[in-house]
């Protein structure tokens, strides 16, 4: 009975999604049919052409210089430049959830003892992989304006590397105090950069640094700096959550 109801529910939801997206419109529908949207009417086309404040020529990879936003990856240019205030809110939500976990699982804690005893190869192989994963995470958030990726997945990759060390070594315990200090400093610098932009440009979190040629590493002004800060903040927050979940309270 439960299966039949769930399959019927899935079929009903699927029918509504398909009929809204793929069938031709009858009168005034909420969506245009798939593939028939005129992008010039939408606000997203001015984000892609980077001409929100004025008229630009066509953006050419590796040639256009001094645009209003120099990021080659335009998902990043929306997330960290045009809608940077939303990202500040998103980082705050993650901070509050990490704060809640820390509040519930606080007190003196020790490493949870696993049933298995990791052998030599697992223990030292994990340390090798840890270095590679941290380098990949740093690449991910320092090249967020050029390639897919960014601060959130970069920070999560660093936290996953730390989780690997927790799994492979029974005695390992990260120094959580350093992570908390890093998180606080990174979050504060993000807000301070926003306030500095009010003083220099007149808008909160405005991109006030000069933007270079599209596609080079020093090209997007404030975006790489903010993404490095977000990466450090997200990485230390998720590392804190992982540490709270993999330890048990010391009994008095």
């Amino acid at each position: 009975m439960k299966q039949v109801v769930s399959i019927l529910l899935v079929l009903a939801v699927g029918f509504f999604i398909f009929s809204a997206l793929y069938f031709p419109n009858q009168g005034d529908s909420a969506f245009d049919s798939y593939g028939e949207v005129d992008l010039d009417e939408r606000v997203s086309s001015s984000f892609i052409d980077k001409n929100v404040t004025g008229e630009n020529d066509e953006v050419v990879f590796g040639e256009s210089a001094n645009l209003e936003d120099g990021s080659a990856n335009y998902v990043t240019s929306v997330i960290v430049n045009y809608r940077s205030f939303d990202t500040l809110g998103e980082v705050t939500v993650l901070f509050i959830s990490a704060f809640g976990v820390g509040l519930l699982l606080s007190g003196r804690r020790k490493k949870q003892a696993f049933a298995h005893q990791p052998n030599f190869i697992l223990k030292y192989g994990a340390r090798l992989v840890f270095g590679i994963m941290v380098i990949f995470g740093v690449y991910m958030f320092s090249h967020g304006h050029l390639a897919p990726g960014g601060g959130f997945p970069g920070g999560a990759i660093i936290a996953a590397a730390l989780l690997l060390l927790y799994l492979a070594d029974n005695d390992f315990r990260a120094k959580m105090k350093a992570f908390k200090v890093t998180e606080g400093i990174a979050g504060s610098i993000y807000v301070i950069l926003g306030l500095l932009a009010i003083v220099i440009g007149g808008y909160f979190l405005m991109n006030f640094l000069p933007t270079g040629i599209v596609g080079t590493i020093f090209s997007a002004g404030l975006i790489p700096i903010i993404y490095v800060l977000i990466g450090l903040k997200v990485g230390s927050e998720i590392a804190g959550i992982v540490d709270s979940f993999l330890t048990v309270e010391v009994e008095k």
């Binding site: 439960k2 299966q3 769930s6 399959i7 899935v10 990856n73 998902v75 949870q112 991910m140 897919p148 990726g149 960014g150 959130f152 997945p153 999560a156 990759i157 936290a159 996953a160 989780l163 799994l167 998720i238 959550i241 992982v242 979940f245 993999l246 048990v248």
Partner: protein, 84 residues
């Protein structure tokens, strides 16, 4: 119908099947593994929809960290229950 659309439909149907399996299975650990499989299929689906940023985030968080945290929460609660 191109081959990409067929792959997309197969991935979508597989996600629904694994979702129903995750609800119906008896052991909680199997349910967590099925959720991880759904995340991996979602990564493929995001790549087919040309959203590599979302795919990377889903691969790291959905099928890596969340699965690990679920598994260790299950492990801890089971151990506490055995003492009583």
């Amino acid at each position: 119908m191109t081959i990409l659309q067929i792959v997309e439909i197969v991935v979508g149907v597989a996600m629904i099947v694994f979702g129903i399996l995750a609800i119906n299975t008896k052991k909680l650990i199997n349910s967590v593994i099925f959720l991880s499989v759904i995340s991996m299929l979602a990564v493929v689906s995001f790549m087919l929809m040309r959203a590599p940023d979302v795919a990377i985030t889903e691969a790291v968080i959905g099928s890596g960290l969340v699965t690990a945290i679920f598994v260790f929460t299950l492990y801890t609660t089971k151990k506490a229950g055995e003492k009583i």
